[in-house]
Symmetry: C2
Subunit: 232 residues, 2 copies
C-alpha cells in the first residue's frame, strides 16, 4: 500500500481530505500541529478522526507560532464575527497565520521523507475562501516544485506530489464528498472561536461558510445539531 | 534600517552570514532552532553570537524533528568519522536531517512576515559540502519563488529575497569573509559530535572541513586552540 502524509487539523476540510486519500488507496499518516491556536478543540477532533479512520500513525507536532505573533488565531486579537461573504472576500483576514501552510507542509515533507512516502494531502480550498495566500493553487504548485528539490527523493528523481483534492470545490461539494466517504462531521471542528466544550460560535467566517455548505445540501450540520440537542 | 531574518545555528557558516548581513546594513533578527540535535552546544554558541552582534532579537524555536527520526544528528545513529573528502562527496550523508532547511526557512518566512522584513539570510554552502539537497542553489531559488506566493507581502507584490552569501565560497573564503567582518570563531561550534563542554571531535566531516579551511588560510582555528590550551 502506498503511503501518504495527510495534514489533519480536525476541521471539516482536512477530515474530508483524509477520507478521500484513503478512498484512493493510500495508507495515511496523519499530521497535526499544536501551534498555540485558540481553537484547541481542533486537536481533540483530529485525534478522533485519526482513530475513526485507523490511520497508520497520528503525530501531533508542537510548534509555537505565538513566538512570532501577528494573527487572531494565535495572538490576543478578536476573531471577526458576523461578516458578510462580500466582506470576507475583500482582504486577507486577520485570522491568517503567517506562513502557516508553508510551515505545515515543511513538516509533512520531513515526515514523508522518513516514511518514504511520495504523496502529501492538504485540504486547502481556494474557492470558498480565497483570502489566504497559502491556499492558492499557484502556491501549492510552487511548493511542490520546491519540495522536489529539497529532499533525497527529489535528488534521486522520485516525484513527490502534493494533493489538494478540495481546492476547486465549494463547501457544499466538500461536504458531499465527505458524506460519500463516510466522514463523521459531528467529530470535526471549524469554528475560530469555539467555547471550551467545542460549541461553535456560528458567527465567525468559518462557521458561516460551513453552515451555508450544509444548507445548500439541505442538511443540518451534525455538529450544530448535537449542541442544539443538549440545549443551545 | 531594513530588517532581515538571519538563520543562526551557532556554526561557523551562520555566524559569518550574520556578520555579512550586518555589514550590508540590515538590522538582523536571529532565528535558531532547538530540534533535538545532539550537538546542543550550538545553541549556546548561537546565543553568544546574537549577543556579540547585538541583533534586534534572538528567538529559539522548539521543534522536535526527533518525532520523525531518520538522521544521525537527531536519532540514535553514529556520526561518521574519519571520512575522506572523496567519500564525503559520494552520497547524501546520514547526518542529513530530512527537510531541515525547508522547515527552518518556513519559520524564517513566518517571522519575516510579522516583522515586515523582506530579506532572509541563510548560510548554506554548496561548494565544500554538496551532499545536502537543501543546500543547492536550485533549491534556494525554488524556495524563494514559493515564498513569494505564500505570504501577504507576496500577494501585495513585495519581493522577498533569500540571501545565500556563502553559497559559492570555499570554507577558507567563508572564514576570510568572517575575519574581515569581525566574527569571533572561538564562539562558534561546527562539530556534529562534540563533548559536553563543546570540545570538537576533529574527526567528523564538519570538523575536517573546518580544519582544512583554517589550514588553507595558514591560521589556527581559535576554537581548537582554546581546547588545546586547556589541555587537549
Amino acid at each position: 500500500m502506498k503511503r501518504a502524509v495527510v495534514l489533519l487539523s480536525g476541521g471539516l476540510d482536512s477530515a474530508t481530505a483524509l477520507a478521500f486519500a484513503q478512498a484512493q488507496g493510500f495508507e495515511c499518516f496523519a499530521l497535526s500541529f499544536d501551534y498555540g491556536q485558540r481553537h484547541r478543540i481542533e486537536l481533540q477532533r483530529a485525534k478522533e478522526q485519526a482513530e475513526l479512520r485507523k490511520v497508520g500513525k497520528h503525530v501531533v507536532v508542537n510548534i509555537d507560532l505565538r513566538t512570532f505573533g501577528g494573527s487572531a488565531l494565535t495572538a490576543d486579537i478578536d476573531v471577526p464575527k458576523d461578516r458578510t461573504e462580500a466582506h470576507m472576500a475583500e482582504e486577507i483576514p486577520i485570522t491568517y497565520v503567517p506562513a502557516r501552510n508553508t510551515v505545515f507542509l515543511s513538516f509533512a515533507l520531513a515526515w514523508a521523507e522518513v516514511l518514504e512516502a511520495k504523496d502529501i494531502f492538504i485540504g486547502v480550498n481556494a474557492l470558498d475562501y480565497s483570502g489566504y495566500p497559502d491556499c492558492r493553487p499557484e502556491f501549492i504548485s510552487a511548493y511542490e516544485a520546491m519540495a522536489n528539490l529539497a529532499t533525497k527523493a527529489g535528488v534521486e528523481g522520485q516525484k513527490l506530489t502534493i494533493h489538494t483534492p478540495l481546492i476547486d470545490l465549494t463547501k457544499a461539494q466538500i461536504i458531499q464528498m465527505g458524506l460519500e466517504t463516510g466522514v463523521d462531521y459531528a467529530k470535526t471542528s471549524s469554528c475560530y472561536d469555539p467555547s471550551e466544550d467545542g460549541r461553535p460560535c456560528r458567527r465567525c467566517d468559518s462557521c458561516k461558510l460551513r453552515e451555508r455548505g450544509f444548507e445548500q445540501l439541505g442538511r443540518i450540520d451534525p455538529l450544530v445539531e448535537q449542541f442544539v440537542k443538549i440545549g443551545g
